[in-house]
């Protein structure tokens, strides 16, 4: 069994015990434990089920590469699925559940899949569920999705707090092992601004466990000294619990820092996402031990040899009373020696190599450990955990020579440098023929903005596996980087680690080397996704030659550990099957993030009201307090209508329209874009920007103008006022102000840069209040005007004046979007609420009422005025909307003119603007519905001949009205069109003039 030893454990504090619940069982751990070490201390060897076959799964690793021990922690707003037990800190009162089983971890009905595993080979889903086609969506997928899948997504909002942090440094060092610390110490002395980060909550990496010797002292002491002296320096920032997630162009690195465990209180920061720009980065991320592939290697109790060692040294946890070691290299012998010295049984070391060095074999044999060279594991026995191993010759096919009872198997297939970060941004890899691993090809480093290398790699991550070389590489690399950054060669006292040589590794990708198909189909490569040696061989047989295709076909390396353990063995098996060398097969692409990071950290502060801040007009608060029903309009909020007590929204809209047309309405039109265009060439410039002529507009007058893109399509519209000879005020749509301002600037800066024009976006400087209706003039006069003549002659339609109303400085435009007598009054934004209040007081006797955007829309549709975004969708030219009158024929050029000359823009059967009246006047056509002509095209689709662009019930006309784009529409007046509805019924409507109300304009010309 696995248990806590009475002594030992460098990282735990036995005086502080922690209680936690696992699947409803109350268990105990210590301060400093990870969830994994605490589970192992309680003999909880089985911790989950695999993805496909629901096989029992145990903890394999001790770090972030763990594929099996994924847990659901917390509950409610603190529920976190798929947390790696090996990197999750234990806290008092923690609640943990295992995942992917039903009904329980011990007894999982899904495990029946395992019995039938030979019917579930690679590509099983693709092959089986392809027919009948409809069944995938409705039958197969829902069932498979339920059976597969990992943790449950939280249902409540995450209550924790996250933030972003931006940092700029000279040198970023990723990895706080001996190479990283050596590099930091040297760089700090050169005065560079250094950030060094470590994903664990302690410094030193493997050197803590593997008792190395530096300058005749222990590695641990050396690490302690380094960190201590670094802590005293001002120009270095040391951060633990910080994982480098990704490396991107130009020295951009994303780091994920965990600040508190899951027990944190509200408002305490949980995680922080660092967005770092580093001039140079040193990646010293070490290596990950590889599993060995042998039959039954997925049973709980089969672990990485380094992990067994870690649990023993760091946490005082024994992973088994009798541990068999299986290896192809010297490193695993460390585990054997440590276990034996801790008083535990190590019946034998199974070493696939034909021989081991004399000194090592003497050392081990003197402890009473048997070495079986040239041997391999034929199979592991046991059903839910390891009970023993059957041993065979590595050279053979798996014939069992002897069986050894044990409760833990510690395996080592060698080490793979963690090259992920090197590879994220273009660093290439080379195959190390001596150590049988991929390592960074230093001749092709990721390049920075200046075309020079921006990142290097040091220590074990660079392919050095012996502490002596690791430390010296840390110094060497920092020397190179310091020289690149400062231009000076630094003087560095290189301290030395002392370690003997190790014998060569034997490449073993599965064992025994002649394993039968039966054994291979029980030999796991990817523990989480259930990919076996036989699956990869099958994929190769079926023609999946590319490693990227094999990955997707078999799902090898596609689990949440992203192949950290499985990929190299899988590649080797593939290369073996294809009979090409491993470097020729190559690796799959390494993509960020290195480890999953939480959505909370990615969102940071951008949640709730900060997710997308709202633009507010000066009248916003008043509207909010007076029944305004909000709708989003671009980044603004505008009131759809002002709802009164007991009134439906429809009733409110109709009341507002009727009142505006009979008495007087008031509208907050402040969201309209207002762009000042000024300079000697302003008129010439606007002649290019607008389709109509603006240069001949008289000072004091307004003109409705259209803007097109260079592709000819209608982009925005609005009223232009000529303020003086050299200045114009251009009104844009509410959503268009920023876009149109940018459009003007782009043409000014990049095409007509010698024209003397300035543009200025004044949208937020001025509020605009529209007073609309037959009594509008009386209302304004009642407010008290100064310097203004509001008479029809003094301020005619499409004119504007400047003066004072109620003592407030205004610019008053006589323009109308409703067809009524209408004034739009621009006031300084800070005076807008005062003006609004005064207008309402003076307006009381004229029965003034505020109205919202829906009333505005209905009234403009009654008048047949188009709305950008309703009647236009980026494929509509002004000519389609009957706006030919606003397109100058005299001008040589304007933006969009050439495009509109193309033959298809002049086609006879373009969809053009018409009005529609439903045969039943009470039926309102759905917005966006299509007209059909009864014919079908070659695909059997109904021929569409038109589309509704705006559709309302008009209280003025007491009937439904709609605007539509219909093929050759204006020539089909009074034709009745069919509009099929979603329920299969058809609405009939007759084509009519798009102006439904007051075509002569007598209401506005008063």
């Amino acid at each position: 069994m696995s248990s806590r030893l009475s002594t030992g454990g460098k990282l735990i504090d036995r005086s502080l015990s922690k209680e936690f619940m696992f699947n409803g069982r109350r268990l105990k751990g210590f301060e400093g434990d990870t969830l994994a070490s605490a589970l192992l201390a309680n003999d909880q060897v089985m911790v989950g089920r695999s993805f496909k076959y629901h096989r029992p799964r145990g903890i394999v690793a001790s770090g972030s590469e763990e594929p099996n021990a994924l847990m659901e922690t917390g509950s409610g707003s603190k529920l976190e699925p798929n947390q790696r037990a090996t990197t999750t800190k234990l806290f008092d009162g923690m609640r943990v559940k295992s995942q992917n089983h039903w009904p329980t971890l011990e007894f999982d009905l899904g495990a029946i899949n395992s019995t039938f595993s030979k019917f579930f080979p690679a590509g099983f889903y693709y092959k089986t569920f392809i027919h009948p086609r409809f069944a995938w969506k409705y039958l197969f997928e829902p069932i498979i999705r339920k059976a597969a899948g990992l943790g449950n997504a939280p249902k409540e909002k995450d209550c924790d707090t996250y933030e972003y942090f931006y940092a700029h440094v000279d040198l970023l060092i990723i990895g706080g092992g001996i190479a990283g610390l050596a590099a930091a110490s040297s760089a700090v002395k050169s005065g560079l601004k250094v950030l060094i980060v470590e994903q664990n909550d302690y410094w030193g990496g493997r050197a803590i466990v593997d008792e190395i010797n530096i300058e005749n002292g222990s590695g641990s002491d050396w690490i302690y000294q380094q960190v201590k002296s670094l802590s005293n320096e001002k120009n270095v920032n040391l951060r633990l619990n910080m994982m480098a997630a990704g490396v991107y162009d130009h020295g951009y690195v994303l780091l994920h820092e965990t600040l508190t465990d899951g027990s944190n209180k509200k408002m305490e920061l949980r995680q922080r996402l660092w967005r770092v720009r580093a001039k140079q980065t040193i990646v010293a991320t070490g290596a990950i031990e590889r599993p060995l592939a042998f039959a039954g290697n997925d049973l709980p109790g089969v672990m990485l040899a380094s992990a067994v060692r870690d649990y023993l040294v760091n946490f005082g946890v024994s992973c088994g009373d009798r541990t068999v070691i299986v290896t192809n290299n010297d490193d695993a012998y460390r585990t054997a020696i440590l276990m034996k010295n801790a008083g535990l049984e190590v019946p034998c070391i199974i070493d696939a190599r034909p021989s081991v060095s004399e000194s090592l074999s003497k050392q081990v044999q003197s402890l009473g450990i048997k070495i079986l060279t040239g041997k391999a594991v034929s199979t592991v026995t046991g059903s839910k955990r390891v009970e023993g191993v059957a041993i065979c010759s590595h050279a053979g096919s798996g014939e069992v020579l002897e069986t050894v009872a044990c409760d833990c198997v510690a395996m080592s297939g060698g080490w793979s440098p963690v090259v992920h970060l090197w590879s994220h941004c273009g660093g290439k890899l080379e195959w190390d023929k001596k150590n049988y691993m991929f390592k960074p090809d230093l001749t092709s480093a990721p390049l920075g903005a200046n075309g020079e290398g921006m990142l290097t790699v040091a220590g074990t991550a660079n392919g050095f596996l012996i502490s002596r070389d690791v430390l010296s590489d840390g110094y060497t690399k920092s020397k190179e980087i310091i020289k690149a950054l400062t231009g000076k060669v630094p003087k560095i006292s290189m301290e030395k680690a002392h370690s003997g040589d190790e014998s060569e590794i034997l490449p073993v990708w599965f064992m025994p080397q002649g394993a039968t198909r039966k054994l291979k189909s029980k030999t796991w490569l990817d523990f989480q996704n259930d990919v076996k040696v036989s699956d990869v061989e099958l994929a190769a047989q079926e023609g999946f030659e590319s490693v990227e295709h094999t990955k997707r076909y078999t799902t090898l390396g596609m689990a949440t550990d992203q192949g950290k353990l499985s990929n190299i063995n899988g590649l080797a098996v593939l290369s073996n099957s294809l009979n090409v060398s491993i470097p020729d097969v190559g690796t799959t692409t390494f993509r960020p993030p290195f480890q999953p990071i939480s959505l909370g950290a990615i969102a940071g502060e951008a949640r709730h009201e900060l997710f997308k801040p709202i633009r507010k007009t000066s009248i916003h608060n008043w509207i909010n307090a007076n029944g305004g029903v909000w709708e989003p309009v671009a980044d603004w909020r505008r009131p759809f209508c002002f709802q009164r007590n007991g009134e439906s929204i429809k009733e409110a809209v109709e009341r507002e329209i009727v009142n505006t047309r009979t008495n007087c309405g008031i509208l907050d039109a402040s969201t309209l874009g207002k762009i000042l265009v000024k300079g000697p060439d302003a008129a010439r410039f606007l002649d290019m920007i607008y389709t109509n002529v603006m240069s001949n507009l008289k000072v004091g007058k307004c003109r409705y103008g259209l803007m097109c893109s260079e592709n000819g399509f209608l982009s925005d519209d609005g009223v232009v006022a000529r303020l003086s000879d050299d200045s114009y005020l251009c009104h844009t749509t509410s959503g268009g102000s920023d876009r149109i301002h940018a459009h003007m600037e782009e043409w000014l800066q990049t095409e007509w840069w010698d024209w003397k024009v300035y543009t200025l976006n004044l949208t937020e400087q001025f509020s605009q209040i529209a007073i609309v209706g037959p009594k509008a003039r009386q209302l304004i006069e009642k407010m008290g005007v100064d310097g203004l003549d509001l008479s029809p002659e003094g301020l005619p339609f499409m004119g504007f004046s400047e003066g004072f109303i109620a003592g407030i400085s205004v610019r008053i435009f006589r323009i109308s979007f409703s067809g009524e007598l209408s004034y739009e009054i621009a006031v300084p934004a800070l005076k807008a609420q005062e003006f609004w209040d005064l207008a309402l007081i003076s307006g009381e006797e004229f029965e003034v009422m505020p109205y919202g955007t829906e009333a505005l829309h209905v009234m403009r549709a009654e008048k047949g005025f188009i709305m950008i975004g309703d009647e236009t969708d980026g494929t509509v030219i002004p000519q389609d909307l009957g706006l030919d009158w606003a397109i100058s024929k005299k001008k040589e050029d304007f933006i969009g003119k050439r495009a509109q000359m193309r033959s298809f823009m002049k086609s006879e059967n373009r969809w053009k603007l018409v009005g529609l009246k439903t045969i039943d006047p009470s039926v309102v056509l759905p917005d966006g519905c299509y007209a059909v002509d009864g014919e079908s095209n070659s695909y059997g689709h109904k021929n569409m001949i038109g589309r509704v662009t705006s559709s309302y019930f008009s209280p003025t006309l007491e009937r439904s009205i709609a605007l539509a784009l219909v093929e050759n529409g204006p020539d089909r007046m009074n034709e009745i069109l069919n509009f099929p509805n979603l329920d299969g019924s058809v609405t009939k409507a007759a084509i009519c003039d798009p102006v439904f109300f007051d075509k002569e304009g007598k209401n506005q010309n008063v």
Binding site: D249, Y252, N450, G451, E745, E746, Q749, T750, A899
Partner: protein, 107 residues
């Protein structure tokens, strides 16, 4: 995530501050142009693998358009210059040629 020096305000701007504006130094063709000239101007882009001259807008900064010479393979930025020109500065061209002798102008 590129960092590009804005030649107007001198800020080493992050990509998030900028808007990419596509190929630089396009010649505008207006109403007197042929269909194919206009098509070329409006739609056809070189999309070069290697050194490319492109437009950038310092949207969340000084608001100016500028040009950058960049390698679309390595993301190396050779230099930036104001947008008020119809061709890249000679100095920049000779600097690029020095760094990339195999690169030919007009290619």
């Amino acid at each position: 995530m590129l960092v590009i020096l804005c030649p107007y305000c001198g800020v080493e701007a992050e990509e998030t501050e900028l808007t990419a504006g596509g190929e630089a130094h396009l010649e505008r063709f207006g109403p007197s142009s042929s269909d194919s000239e206009f098509e070329n101007y409006l739609f056809m882009r070189k999309n070069e693998k290697g050194i490319t001259f492109e437009r950038w807008h310092h949207t969340y900064g000084c608001g100016k358009w500028f040009h950058a010479a960049r390698c679309s393979m390595t993301m190396e930025i050779f230099g930036t210059y104001p947008a008020q020109t119809s061709k890249p500065p000679k100095k920049l061209i000779s600097m690029i040629k020095k760094k990339r002798p195999e690169w030919g102008e007009g290619k």
